[in-house]
């Protein structure tokens, strides 16, 4: 039965869970809402796991390497797993209201991204490519969490400044905890992204030596590098500032994290739907997998 799972199945589950989170925010406390949110999220995650497994079976590649579509699906899968984990630790925390929009954006974006198998992943570099993609996705998850935590900070800050109460079923952590979490998420995701990026450059150099031609003027790479540089400047500024204005940091994180997520997702969509018509390492659509495997085999023999 799980072999027939489509993106729509888990997207619908997450949409319902998000709707219930909204109801929890707008209405009074209801003892059924939280278990329902958990149930729908868990059902969605099970369906998504099955989908990722099916995709990996189909392409004979790990999910992160098979295609940009799968990369976005894994990204959202990680965010939902984190949501469920947090929900088990702190059932009062209303993180879903902030996290589900991001999950839904990723899942919906995956619709617009080609599901064509990545042709450039040769068996010889597969483990490095996997590390590159894993570090980038983990870094991306970290930045996603920074974005969510900063949004929560700004909402909590606004409530405290306006001297208001949240509705009964809605709880956010203290400002101190949110800024601490934001700092940690930044400190973890920045090195992950940096190392992931470094491995990517190394892989590029390696691939250029072989039969494949890859350009470092690839717009995807250039945009990623610019965004990474902007993010690193922000991170250094945030970590170096003594007694910073935490509201400004949350705003800065929202902008930087938002820009990074928007760019990563946006560039995948633009290249894959061929609005930007260039041959990119991250959106290779011409070479079928078998062809690449043959090329690699030939190279190994020679």
């Amino acid at each position: 039965m799980l072999s027939n799972v489509t993106v729509f199945c888990f997207m619908a589950s997450y949409l319902v869970a998000f709707g219930l989170e909204l109801a929890r925010f707008l209405r009074k406390k209801n003892k059924f809402i939280r278990p329902l949110i958990f149930l729908f999220s868990f059902a969605g995650l099970v369906a998504q796991t099955a989908y990722i497994f099916n995709q990996a079976q189909k392409t004979q590649l790990p999910p992160l390497l098979s295609s940009s579509h799968d990369w976005l699906i894994v990204f959202s899968w990680l965010l939902v797993s984190i949501f469920l984990f947090i929900n088990l630790i702190d059932e009062q925390l209303s993180i879903g209201l902030f996290l589900f929009p991001l999950v839904l954006v990723l899942v919906i974006s995956s619709y617009f991204v080609d599901n064509v198998t990545n042709a450039l992943v040769e068996p010889a570099i597969r483990s490095w490519a996997l590390l590159h993609a894993s570090l980038l996705v983990l870094g991306g998850v970290g930045i996603g969490l920074c974005f969510v935590v900063s949004a929560m900070y700004l909402v909590q800050h606004r409530r405290l400044k306006k001297k208001q109460n949240f509705s009964e079923g809605f709880h956010l952590p203290s400002l101190a905890k949110l800024s601490r979490l934001n700092r940690w998420a930044l400190m973890i995701s920045a090195p992950l992204l940096t190392v992931g990026m470094g491995i990517g450059i190394g892989l590029g150099v390696y691939v250029r030596k072989g039969a494949q031609s890859i350009s470092f003027y690839d717009p995807v790479i250039i945009v990623y590098e610019i965004v990474w540089a902007v993010m690193m400047i922000s991170v250094i500024f945030i970590l170096r500032t003594k007694q910073p204005n935490q509201k400004h940091i949350a705003q800065l994180t929202i902008w930087t994290g938002g820009l990074l997520l928007l760019t990563v997702i946006g560039i995948q969509i633009l290249t894959n739907v061929r609005l930007l018509n260039f041959d990119s390492w991250h959106s290779h659509y011409s070479a079928p997998l078998m062809e690449v495997q043959q090329t690699s085999a030939e190279r190994t023999i020679s």
């Binding site: 409530r159 405290l160 400044k161 208001q164 109460n165 101190a176 007694q243 910073p244 935490q246």
Partner: protein, 426 residues
């Protein structure tokens, strides 16, 4: 007898109005009492002035002699130099049983911002004691306030109103403080003022794990007393700015007439402290902090009493059943008190009337038996009982009317008429 209360509280008026009408020091209250005593010498009076309410209870034996609602509004206006138009809409009046019920609700903390808070009964006791010291209490106010204290104890014993968050400090820290700080055990708390509210707040914060406590007060002696009791450090008032710079949580509970911390003062504090987060709880009425202090930067979170109103209302809804139970007790006690008061007013008249008529009956029976000496003891007894029944039947309608009228309040007119008709003297 006439009972009346004029008041404005957190439900009827904002803090900006209440702080104009409050009596913030004992000296100010004594001065108000002396003005009132001069203007209304025959009136018993008690003033309750806390951060949430300003109430003036008056009681007179004669309904005409006491001050009216307008008279008292005029007094507040002249005493505090505030135009009547600024507060008259929020300045309510209750009389008779409504006034009694109101006091019982106040003393039982049903009218408090934080339902079930224990502090109000002490404030009522203090207010009553202060009025007694100023020789403004009489038989009516003594009875009223002593009964109010008993009712408060009964409500506390027979309901669960006092369970859960029952102090302003607990509501403020629970609603806002815990949204700012993750924990309090590593925070420095500064208490400005050394009164009962300061002590109560400190006790709550100690329970939250606060260890570093600094008390600043105009009277260093009082600050030292509180600091010793709670386990903190007392500092002279001159060090206020330094102490604020070092504090994370500032709780102000002084009785100052004017804000003690304004924007320039707090900007000097910020120069010393840097860009740190401040959680400031201003529990003073009038307010101790200029409200503009909260707008200086994003890291200053300033709350006054009125900012806690919404949370307290939620608290109240959650304990609606207990509120209903308490209201039943208060209604029952109000009826009992009013019955006692009216009985006290009508009792002597009824007694005198009965005694007068029975005296007449005895005299006439004696005369009759003198003329009818042939009657045996059994006949005499029959006649005597018969005449007694006639007297009782004749007395019944007027006394019944008097009792009925007394249920609605002291029937001054009827009592006066009875006195005139039957020549009854006080």
């Amino acid at each position: 007898m006439n009972l009346q209360v004029v008041y404005c509280n957190h439900q009827t008026a904002g803090l900006d109005v209440r702080e104009k009408l409050a009596f913030s020091s004992k000296e100010q209250l004594d001065s108000a009492y002396s003005v009132l005593k001069k203007s209304y010498p025959d009136t018993e009076m008690v003033v309750i002035s806390t951060c949430n309410r300003v109430e003036l209870y008056t009681a007179t034996q004669e309904s005409e002699s006491g001050p009216s609602h307008q008279d008292l509004a005029k007094f507040f206006s002249e005493f505090h130099q505030v135009p009547v138009s600024d507060f008259f809409e929020d300045f309510l009046e209750r009389t008779g049983p409504d006034a009694v019920r109101h006091l019982f609700q106040v003393a039982s903390s049903l009218d408090s911002m934080v339902l079930g808070e224990p502090q109000i009964v002490n404030q009522v006791k203090e207010a009553y004691q202060r009025a007694t010291d100023n020789a403004l209490c009489g038989p009516l106010t003594h009875a009223l306030f002593q009964q109010a204290i008993r009712v408060s104890a009964r409500v506390r014993t027979e309901t669960q109103l006092s369970e859960g968050r029952v102090s302003i400090a607990s509501v403020a820290v629970g609603t806002f403080g815990k949204g700012i700080f993750e924990r309090f055990d590593n925070k420095t708390v500064l208490i400005i003022g050394a009164g009962e509210m300061a002590e109560e707040t400190l006790i709550y914060l100690k329970d939250e794990g606060v260890d570093q406590i600094v008390v600043v007060n105009r009277s260093l002696e009082n600050a030292q007393k509180l600091a010793t009791k709670i386990g903190g450090e007392a500092r002279p008032y001159q060090d206020l700015e330094d102490c604020m710079a070092k504090a994370d949580v500032i709780v102000s509970t002084t009785g100052s007439n004017q804000p003690i911390v304004d924007v320039p003062c707090f900007e000097r504090v910020l120069e010393k402290s840097g860009n740190k987060t401040f959680f400031i709880l201003d529990l003073g009425a009038p307010r101790d902090f200029d409200s503009a202090v909260g707008e200086i930067n994003d890291n200053i979170f300033l709350y006054d009493i009125d900012d806690l109103e919404a949370t307290c209302e939620k608290n109240r809804h959650a304990r609606q059943k207990e509120v209903e139970k308490a209201l039943e007790i208060i209604d029952e006690e109000t009826d009992r008190f009013m019955h006692g008061i009216y009985h006290r007013a009508t009792g002597p008249i009824i007694k005198q009337l009965r005694e007068q008529w029975h005296e007449v009956r005895e005299q006439e029976v004696e005369k009759l038996f003198g003329k009818l000496s042939h009657l045996d003891e059994k006949d005499q007894e029959l006649i005597e009982r018969s005449i007694e029944q006639i007297v009782n039947k004749l007395l019944h309608p007027p006394l019944e009317v008097l009792r009925q009228e007394a249920r609605e309040g002291t029937p001054h007119g009827l009592l006066k008429a009875l006195k005139q008709l039957f020549h009854i003297r006080d």
